[in-house]
Subunit: 85 residues, 2 copies
């Protein structure tokens, strides 16, 4: 499956989160990761997140059958005119 | 179309961005919005973003045919066991 992961954590706890997510997914921007995961990789990562994240924090993981399910537009830093409709 | 919008802006410029996105989309967590947009709403919002965002910043907008294209798991604050597979 293809996933988009966005986290909102306390500032001093983001480094560990970033490191863990980076083992499974590609970093896209501050607190945003994307990538293809097997079911077992998803389970590993989500189990880790479930234990790590506290009730003052939040992580959303969007799951798709494939990357083809979406189109993506990027503005600012990595702007690429080919991405913009 | 259904969109997920994630922004990474300089701290003192997020309020204005938050306010603008909130006119079109639902706020989900820090720097994350979601919602259904018509093509013309998308054009309005993306034109505004294109002008507002500078080269040190970044905004990613993921676009889908409908909200049904995705599943969503939430961890932490708004955890809801019905959302977690």
């Amino acid at each position: 499956m293809y996933v988009i992961l966005v986290y909102d954590l306390e500032a001093d706890r983001t480094n560990k989160m970033h490191k863990e997510c980076g083992q499974y997914l590609d970093w896209k921007q501050n607190s945003l990761f994307e990538g293809e995961l097997t079911k077992s990789q998803y389970k590993e990562l989500s189990n880790w997140i479930d234990k790590y994240v506290n009730t003052e924090e939040k992580v959303v993981i969007y799951k798709f059958r494939s990357e083809n399910a979406m189109n993506k537009d990027i503005y600012g830093f990595e702007r690429d005119s080919s991405n913009i409709i």
